[in-house]
C-alpha cells in the first residue's frame, strides 16, 4: 500500500526528473568532510580536550556472576588521599531503567539500576570512584570492602527457564513500560510470536522438509575507541555530557530520568566518535559519570579499558535458532517455522527488538505464505547483549542462509537460481512486515526497488560461481577449496517510530551551516548529508559546514542506528535545504525584481529562466543579513517514514581449507550490494568492506570464552582474535546501481548493516562445498572444523 507522506520524493521526481546524469554532488565519491582533520590528528574525540581539575572515574566490577551484596564498606577508599567521591547503590536513587538507547517508550525492559544491591554477571558494576589520578582511583577501588552472598548463576541459555533455576531479576521494579510479554520470574526478558497462513497446510504441501539447529555466538563490537565519557558543569551549573555515543538525544532523556533532572539541565555533546557498530547505542556509562560530577561538582572522565569494553559494555546476543522449512520439488517454499532462543545476558537491553529483527529482516526475503516466528529471550548471568550492526538479522541469516543452501541442494537446484526464484520482488509485500514490528505490530510495506537478481548474477560471475562450485564438489587432497553464497536484505530505519531533523542557516559568504542531530560515528553521515544539501542548493560540498551533534544546538534525531541516517535524516536535510532554497528565491526575487517561480539555482547563484539575470549566493547572503529587509535565512525540518525499504545483497566467498589442521582461509569475498542510489559510492563501499571483514572474523575466530564461573577468559585483543591487515583476503565490493528507491532521498536506501550478515552462512556453505560437512555453530575455528571433519 503506497503511503502518502513517504512518496514526496516520487511526486517531485515526476516534475523534475532526477537521473544520475543530472546529479552533481550526490552519487559522487566526494572526500569525507572530516577526513583531513582525522588524518592529521586534530579532529577532537571525547578524550581530546583538557579540563581543569579533571577527576578520573573507575568502576569496581563484580567478581561473581550472581550475588547479593550483603554489605559494602567504602570508608577506607573515601579516606585515601586524592579520592573525591565513592558511590555505591546506597548513594543513588533506585530507578529502574534500560540502558538501551531507544526512543521513548523503550521496548526493552526496565531492569537496570545505576548501581544495585545485587550483581548479575562477572564485571557488573558494584561501586564507582572519582579521584585525582587514574592510579588513585584504581587503588581506591581495591579498598572497597564488599561482602557477597554468592548465588547460583545461570550460565546456559538453554536451561535458563528450567524449573528451579535462580531468578536473575527478582527485584520488584523489573518491568516493561509498554505491554509486552515480560516474565522475569522465569528469566524471560521477552517473548514474541507471529503467524501468517497455516503451518500444517504449508508443511503438508511440502515434498521436502528441513529442520536443523543453528547458533550465533557472542561477539564484541571492538570499536577502536572504547566507551568514554567526560562530564562537567557549565557556567549555569548545567550538566554537560561529552560522550562517545550513537544516540545523544536518548542520552539526554535517559540520563535526566535516571538522575531525576529535567532535560533542560542536561546537555549532551557528541564529538568525533571512534566507531560504534551499535555498541554505543547504549546509555551505559554516562549516568554514573554524571552522578560523580554532580557529587563532586568537578569534571570527571570515565574511560573503559579494553578488557572492560569486552566484558562490561555490550555484545552481540547469542542465539539458538531451530529452523524448519518445507519445500516443493520445483523450489516453492511452502512453510517456514523459525524458533529463536536468545540470550540477553544479565540485562534485557534490546532483548525484544533484536529477537524481532531476526524474523523481520530475514523472513520477508523469501516468498512464503505460511510463516511462523517464535522468539524467547532469556536472562543469564553472562555479559549483556545489545545493538550490534546487523541487529538480529546477522543471527537469523546464519540459520536461513545455511538452510537455503540445504534446500537447493536437496532439490537439485543451483542456489543462485533458488534465490532468484524465491526472493521478494518489486510490487510484492510480505505478511511478515505487518506481523513483526519493534515492540508493536509492524508496518505493511511493498517493495519498490530491488536489484537482488543483478547482485546474484554479477556476484556469481565475479567469483566464477558455476565452474568452481562444480569443480570443488569432488576433491581429494590436503588443501581443498570451496565456494558459498547467500542472499540478504535488511531495512532502512524503523517506520513510524524514528524521526530525524536538520536545521540550516545561510552565511554572508554564501556558505551554509548544516546542523544535524544525526550522529556521525565514523560512518561518513556528515559527508553524505552535506552532499544532499549541496545537491539541492547547487553549491560545492565545502560550502556546507556540517555540525553533529549537540543537544543544545542541533535539532533532534533518534541517532545512528537501525540503518536510518541516510534514508531518514537524509530526507530531513533535503527538506531543510529545499526550504532554504525557497527563502533564497524570496530574497533573489526581490533583488532581481523577478518572479520567484522563474528562478532556479546553479553554481552557487540564482538565475532567472526568463531573463537570464542572476545573482550569487554571496550577494544574497550579504544582502539578507546587512542590506535590506534583514533576516536570517534559516530552516528546520523533520522527517519520519512509514517504510523501511530493504537494501539487497548477495555475498559470495571462496575459501581454502586445510584438511589436516582444519584452518579455513578466505581467498576471495565478493559482496554485490544494491542500496538504491549510493550517495557516496566510496563511502558505501567502505561500509561494506568493513562489515564484511567483521563478518568474516566473526565467522572464523571471534568468540567469547568463559570459565565455569562465567568469567570471560579472553577479554583482550591478545586472545579475542580479530583480523588485522595481514589477515585481509581479497574483498570485492560491487555496488549495483540503477535501482533508485522511490521513497528514499535521491533514491538511497541503507548500506551499513546488511554487509555483516553474509559471512557466516556463506563461509559455512563454502565449507560444505569443499568437504561436504555442514557447520551450523560458528565460529569455525581450526579446531572446530578439524573436529567436525573427523567426527
Amino acid at each position: 500500500m503506497p503511503d502518502k507522506k513517504g512518496s514526496i520524493f516520487k511526486k517531485k521526481a515526476k516534475e523534475e526528473p532526477v537521473d544520475a546524469g543530472n546529479l552533481k554532488y550526490v552519487g559522487q565519491s566526494v572526500k569525507k568532510v572530516d577526513g583531513l582533520g582525522l588524518a592529521t590528528g586534530i579532529a577532537g574525540f571525547v578524550d581530546d580536550i583538557e579540563l581543569p581539575n579533571l577527576l578520573y572515574a573507575k568502576i569496581l566490577p563484580s567478581p561473581h556472576a550472581h550475588a547479593k551484596i550483603l554489605s559494602i564498606d567504602a570508608s577506607k577508599a573515601k579516606k585515601l588521599k586524592g579520592v573525591k567521591a565513592v558511590l555505591t547503590y546506597k548513594d543513588l536513587p533506585r530507578i529502574a531503567h534500560t540502558t538501551a538507547g531507544q526512543g521513548y517508550p523503550e521496548p526493552s525492559p526496565y531492569d537496570t539500576f545505576i548501581l544495585d544491591n545485587k550483581v548479575r554477571y562477572v564485571g557488573d558494576r558494584v561501586a564507582a570512584v572519582a579521584a585525582e589520578t587514574e592510579q588513585i582511583a584504581e587503588e581506591a577501588i581495591k579498598l572497597i570492602k564488599v561482602q557477597y552472598k554468592v548465588l547460583k548463576p545461570v550460565l546456559d541459555m538453554e536451561k535458563a527457564t528450567e524449573k528451579g533455576m535462580p531468578i536473575i531479576h527478582d527485584e520488584k521494579e523489573a518491568r516493561t513500560i509498554i505491554p509486552l510479554n515480560y516474565d522475569p520470574k522465569r528469566n524471560i526478558a521477552s517473548q514474541v510470536k507471529a503467524l501468517t497462513g497455516n503451518m500444517a497446510e504449508g508443511f503438508s504441501n511440502a515434498d521436502h522438509t528441513f529442520e536443523n539447529i543453528y547458533y550465533a555466538h557472542y561477539a564484541s563490537h571492538a570499536a577502536n575507541e572504547t566507551h568514554i565519557v567526560i562530564t562537567y558543569l557549565d557556567g549555569q551549573g548545567r550538566l554537560v555530557i561529552r560522550t562517545s555515543t550513537q544516540v545523544p538525544f536518548h542520552v539526554r532523556r535517559i540520563v535526566a530520568e535516571r538522575l531525576q533532572l529535567s532535560e533542560s539541565r542536561v546537555r549532551v555533546i557528541k564529538p568525533r566518535i571512534g566507531g560504534g557498530f551499535g555498541g554505543k547505542q547504549e546509555v551505559l556509562i554516562e549516568d554514573i559519570c554524571s552522578a560523580l560530577t554532580l557529587k563532586t561538582r568537578s569534571p570527571v572522565k570515565l574511560h573503559y579499558s579494553r578488557s572492560e569494553e569486552f566484558i562490561a559494555s555490550r555484545t552481540r546476543h547469542p542465539q539458538r535458532i531451530i529452523l524448519k522449512t518445507g519445500v516443493k520439488h520445483d523450489g516453492t517454499i511452502t512453510a517456514i517455522d523459525m524458533d529463536v532462543l536468545m540470550n540477553t545476558g544479565a540485562y534485557g537491553s534490546h532483548a525484544l527488538t533484536v529477537a524481532c529483527n531476526t524474523g523481520s529482516k530475514v523472513l520477508p526475503l523469501l516468498r512464503c505464505e505460511n510463516v511462523q516466528f517464535k522468539a524467547q529471550t532469556v536472562y543469564t548471568n553472562l555479559p549483556v547483549g545489545g545493538a550490534y550492526r546487523g541487529y538480529g538479522a546477522t543471527q537469523g541469516y546464519i540459520a536461513m542462509g545455511i538452510q537455503v543452501d540445504e534446500m537447493a541442494e536437496r532439490i537439485g537446484m543451483d542456489v543462485c537460481h533458488f534465490y532468484k526464484m524465491n526472493h521478494i520482488k518489486v510490487g510484492e509485500t510480505s505478511p511478515v512486515f505487518k506481523a513483526l514490528g519493534e515492540g508493536r505490530e509492524g508496518v505493511l510495506q511493498t517493495i519498490e526497488s530491488c536489484g537482488l537478481d543483478q547482485c546474484i548474477e554479477i556476484g556469481a560471475t565475479a567469483i566464477d560461481w558455476y565452474a568452481k562450485k562444480e569443480r570443488y564438489e569432488r576433491q581429494t587432497g590436503q588443501i581443498r577449496k570451496g565456494v558459498g553464497m547467500v542472499a540478504l536484505m535488511q531495512g532502512s530505519s524503523i517506520p513510524d517510530i524514528d524521526m530525524g531533523a536538520a536545521s540550516m542557516k545561510m552565511n554572508e559568504d554564501g556558505s551554509f551551516n548544516l546542523l544535524v542531530g544525526a550522529t556521525d560515528l565514523g560512518t561518513g553521515s556528515d559527508t553524505i548529508l552535506a552532499q544532499m544539501a549541496a545537491e539541492v542548493l547547487d553549491v560545492p560540498v565545502e560550502k556546507i559546514i556540517v555540525y553533529s551533534s549537540d543537544t543544545d544546538l542541533t535539532p533532534f534525531d533518534v541517532g545512528a542506528y537501525a540503518s536510518s541516517t541516510t534514508y531518514l535524516s537524509g530526507y530531513a536535510v533535503i527538506k531543510t535545504a529545499e526550504d532554504i532554497r525557497s527563502q533564497i528565491f524570496d530574497v533573489a526575487a526581490e533583488m532581481l525584481k523577478e518572479k520567484k517561480a522563474d528562478l532556479y539555482v546553479k553554481d552557487s547563484a540564482v538565475f532567472s529562466k526568463k531573463t537570464g539575470k542572476n545573482i550569487t549566493y554571496q550577494r544574497i547572503g550579504l544582502h539578507s543579513l546587512y542590506e535590506k529587509n534583514q533576516h536570517q535565512i534559516a530552516s528546520v525540518k523533520s522527517h519520519i517514514t512509514h517504510k523501511s525499504p530493504p537494501p539487497f545483497s548477495a555475498h559470495f566467498v571462496e575459501i581454502e581449507l586445510d584438511m589436516d589442521t582444519g584452518k579455513v582461509k578466505v581467498l576471495k569475498y565478493v559482496a554485490a550490494i544494491e542500496c538504491g542510489r549510493a550517495i557516496n559510492p566510496k563511502l558505501a563501499e567502505g561500509q561494506t568492506e568493513g562489515g564484511v571483514l567483521n563478518g568474516i572474523s566473526y565467522a572464523l575466530t571471534e568468540e567469547y570464552i568463559f570459565d565455569r564461573q562465567g568469567r570471560m577468559l579472553n577479554s583482550g585483543f591478545d586472545n579475542y582474535k580479530l583480523f588485522y591487515p595481514a589477515d585481509l583476503p581479497e574483498i570485492r565490493t560491487i555496488l549495483i546501481e540503477g535501482y533508485p528507491e522511490p521513497t528514499g532521498p535521491y533514491g538511497a536506501k541503507s548500506v551499513s548493516e546488511i554487509c555483516i550478515n553474509g559471512a557466516v552462512p556463506a563461509i559455512s556453505n563454502a565449507i560444505y562445498n569443499a568437504v561436504g560437512i555442514r557447520l551450523r555453530k560458528p565460529p569455525f575455528t581450526p579446531e572446530v572444523v578439524y573436529t567436525s571433519i573427523n567426527k
Partner: protein, 154 residues
C-alpha cells in the same frame, strides 16, 4: 626526572616519573593525535615514530625515550600542508571513524621511508599491528598505494 625529546622537530623537555608511559606523556603534553585503543600494544592507535621506527607508544617507557626523536601524526603534516599519505587516506576513503588513522599513517610512513615501492604483502606486513574495525583495510591498502604513486610523481 627530566627527559629531553625532539618531537616533530621541536626540542622539548618534560618532567616525568620513572614509571610514566610515553603515550600518556605525549597526550598529556598535547599530542592528542596519538590515540589510546588498548594500552597493551595490540591495536596500533598510539603508534609514533621513535628514532624513525614505528612503535606502539603505549609500550614505551617515557624514560627510555629520553634523547630520542619522535614524530607523531601532528608532525607528519597539517590540514594546510598534508603529507601525501594523509591526502591519500582521505581520497581513497581510508578514513572512517579516524581513530586508527594516525597510527596507520605512522606505520605507512615508516614503510615508505624505507621502501619507495612496496608490494601489497609488504604494505600489509608493515600495518600488521594496526587494528581497524571500520574499513576492512581494503581502502587503507589502496591509500598507501595511492601515496606511493603521489610521491613518485613529485
Amino acid at each position: 626526572m627530566i627527559i629531553k625529546l625532539i618531537i616533530n622537530n621541536e626540542e622539548k623537555e618534560f618532567t616525568i616519573k620513572p614509571g610514566d608511559i610515553l603515550l600518556d606523556v605525549l597526550r598529556r603534553e598535547g599530542y592528542k593525535g596519538v590515540k589510546k585503543g588498548c594500552g597493551t600494544g595490540e591495536c596500533g592507535a598510539c603508534a609514533v615514530l621513535l628514532n624513525g621506527r614505528a612503535v606502539n607508544s603505549c609500550l614505551v617507557l617515557a624514560a627510555e625515550a629520553d634523547n630520542s626523536r619522535i614524530v607523531t601524526i601532528e608532525g607528519i603534516g597539517t590540514t594546510e600542508k598534508p603529507d601525501p599519505l594523509q591526502e591519500s587516506f582521505v581520497e581513497a576513503g581510508a578514513v572512517q571513524c579516524g581513530y586508527c588513522t594516525p597510527g596507520m599513517i605512522i606505520s605507512a610512513k615508516a614503510l615508505l621511508n624505507k621502501k619507495k615501492d612496496p608490494t601489497d604483502t609488504e604494505i600489509k606486513k608493515a600495518l600488521d599491528g594496526n587494528y581497524c574495525r571500520c574499513t576492512g583495510y581494503v581502502k587503507i591498502i589502496d591509500a598507501v598505494r595511492m601515496a606511493v604513486k603521489k610521491m613518485k610523481n613529485k
